[in-house]
Symmetry: C2
Subunit: 405 residues, 2 copies
């Protein structure tokens, strides 16, 4: 097995090069050595050296040249390289309040299998979560005709305040206790690297690796699930504040002494756009029977019900204000609004986006691009898989040097 120890001094430099080259290959999908050299600013000689290492380690593979021959008409044809999917099997799991969704992907990011595991209840003990994860992984593997032992890394997505650097759960709505060393417990139950993070960062990773933010080094992702989440990527890395719990977009205040939030404070954005906030308003306004179905409320708004429409309107205005604040602070080049169906209609609509644009500081430079990305319900699990994939890549490449000895 590979060891973590530092082997030789210059090995450090080489590891860096390997990481660079591998990233370039993953980003490009398929790319010839000469183009890697151009992109990474590394000499062709070194690219040859590094790719040959990666090839013999089985992490990448050559593509048998097809009849494309783009560009050049003469000369030795370039042979493209790509990540070798079979090199690793990666799992991503997202635990929501109803179920655990698992996705299996290969090292290229191709989906190998999906699986959904019902939850006994929305809140569990740490031991139950560990057990659940193990059974979900087993189920997913069985369904895909793979074996659990083939998995080389697992990403886990949880709502709440997660410290991803320590695989530590400050708090999660799925857990019945605070401050859990969940990462350690999982590693004890299954000897593969685990990677945990909160929902929004998950989606940020997914956008970066598979989605709208490929080749973008600074961007922001906003997601809406139960609450409102934000993922910040600066310089290619997820930014996670000091205590590992930054980007609490949902709890930025949009109104002085405003509506009561479930966090106990007043005026949080979430207290205006969250599910419970919308339903609360609908109920207060004197409807005969208590409203508890958001889609029904939404249907009424669409049908023209003034009261229902007003509820969604205010949510949209507040959301626009919060988002504009984030843009004013970060001035990112790209903002991605990720979400599922309904979110789009009432929060990601053009009227809201227009409002955002008119609330951003104006300069003689184009406004940041706001892109809307409609994912399927596997978005979260895919993000978890993306995190694990990144982690496994880094680990494998680091260990290449040590193993060579």
């Amino acid at each position: 097995m590979a060891s973590i120890q530092r082997t030789s001094p210059a090995n450090d430099q080489r590891e860096n090069g390997r990481q660079h080259v591998f990233d370039a290959i993953r980003q490009a999908g398929r790319i010839a050595r000469i183009d890697i050299a151009r992109e990474t600013q590394v000499s062709p000689a070194t690219v040859t050296a590094i790719t040959s290492e990666l090839l013999s380690a089985g992490l990448i593979e050559e593509i048998t040249p097809e009849g494309d021959r783009t560009g050049a008409k003469r000369g030795r044809p370039r042979v493209a390289l790509k990540v070798r999917g079979a090199a690793h099997l990666i799992a991503g799991i997202k635990i929501s309040d109803r179920s655990a969704t698992v996705i299996l992907v290969d090292f290229e990011g191709q989906t190998v299998g999906e699986y959904d595991h019902e939850l006994p209840g929305p809140v569990m003990s740490a031991e139950e979560i560990v057990d659940l994860v193990m059974r979900a992984l087993a189920g997913a593997c069985a369904a895909a005709g793979r074996h659990v032992r083939e998995i080389s890394g697992v990403g886990l997505g949880l709502a709440g305040l997660i410290d991803a650097t320590r695989n530590f759960v400050h708090w999660s709505p799925s857990l019945d206790q605070r401050n859990v060393e969940l990462g350690r417990m999982l590693s004890d139950a299954m000897p593969v690297p685990f990677y945990m993070d909160n929902d929004a960062n998950l989606v940020a990773k997914a956008e970066q690796l598979f989605g709208e933010a490929r080749n973008v080094s600074d961007f922001i992702v906003i997601t809406i699930e139960q609450g409102v989440g934000m993922g910040i990527v600066i310089d290619g890395k997820i930014y996670r504040g000091e205590r590992g719990c930054g980007a609490e977009f949902g709890h930025t205040k949009v109104q002085l002494d405003g509506a009561l939030c479930r966090c106990g404070q007043r005026g949080c954005l979430e207290a205006y756009v969250g599910d419970y906030a919308l339903l609360r308003e609908a109920n207060i306004r004197g409807s005969a029977q208590p409203e508890d179905d958001l889609s029904a409320l939404y249907a009424r708004a669409k049908a023209g019900d003034a009261m229902a429409r007003s509820i969604f309107d205010r949510a949209g205005r507040m959301f626009a204000m919060g988002l504009a604040n984030v843009i004013n602070i970060f001035d990112p080049s790209l903002v991605i609004l990720s979400g599922e169906q309904m979110t789009f209609d009432f929060l990601y609509g053009s009227d809201v986006l227009d409002r955002v644009k008119s609330s951003v500081v104006q300069v003689d430079a184009p406004l940041p691009e706001i892109r809307v990305h409609k994912w399927g319900d596997l978005m979260w699990a895919k993000g978890a898989a993306a995190c694990a994939m990144e982690g496994v890549s880094e680990l494998t490449i680091r260990n290449l040097g040590a193993d060579a000895a």
Copy 2:
């Protein structure tokens, strides 16, 4: 003279090492080689090699050992190294609406001279600014008994939207035109590197090099002058969004469709806490003669005038809300509130800080530290000098390799 060309491949690595070591020395003030090795994770052998280069280049110097002998009782005594102040003379200039303040510092950051230059008027043409800078530098040098030609770098602070990476002024209240290549014009007038930035980033640099944020890699600085500014430091570097004009804290919205801001939008924080916002309120409220002196208004508030007090109260509440939002988004380890006298009393008071703390998402981890830093009126110029100092250091060290050839 030194050239910018890349010399050898591995030179890159060496430059990195030099930069690291030099930073360690500057940060520590005085430090022995063995401790540099410990801190930078570089071997003692390499530290010796690098420091000997820096020594012979005159950038650092050995300190004649004094009778301290901290710690160890036997063995060869460590000789401390420090930055050699005489290596460079650096100037920092801040242009406000009334005057241009110049500070001269040596390479250690020690103040060598100060100088204040009256402005003909608050708004000038680009040519007038260039001229003004030249005359201010000359004046400062004359007063300090130095020659302008000794200066190796100049930092310039301006209010407005500045793109520091290109030394480009999108807009500044001091300039009568937009989109000015001020950096190029200055370089044409005087052949030294110029470094420009907006006020808040300036102060952030000053805090990082000379102030409260030494050895802190992630922090936020809030400053109040005419408007409200923010500087963000992530991973030791100033964060400047995509268009080079992020961190527009003053124009984050704290009220939906709120008070009119001079930027033309509604609800900006600045429209509640800026000088003009406070005076505007005071005047609207039916006082006999128009109020145009903020300190008079403030005195009335302190004396118990309910109306005046209410004005400052609201400003404080809005400020707290905006600051809490920033903290919720960034989760920084340190927030520094930098400013001059009056700001403290009504915005940086304990009641406002308490309000901030109670609006931040609560976790089982200590809240970010909020430190208040009262600078003299040289704060801005010092920040400009800090920027220049950093730039000159980097440049000098980069050129070491080239010059050696």
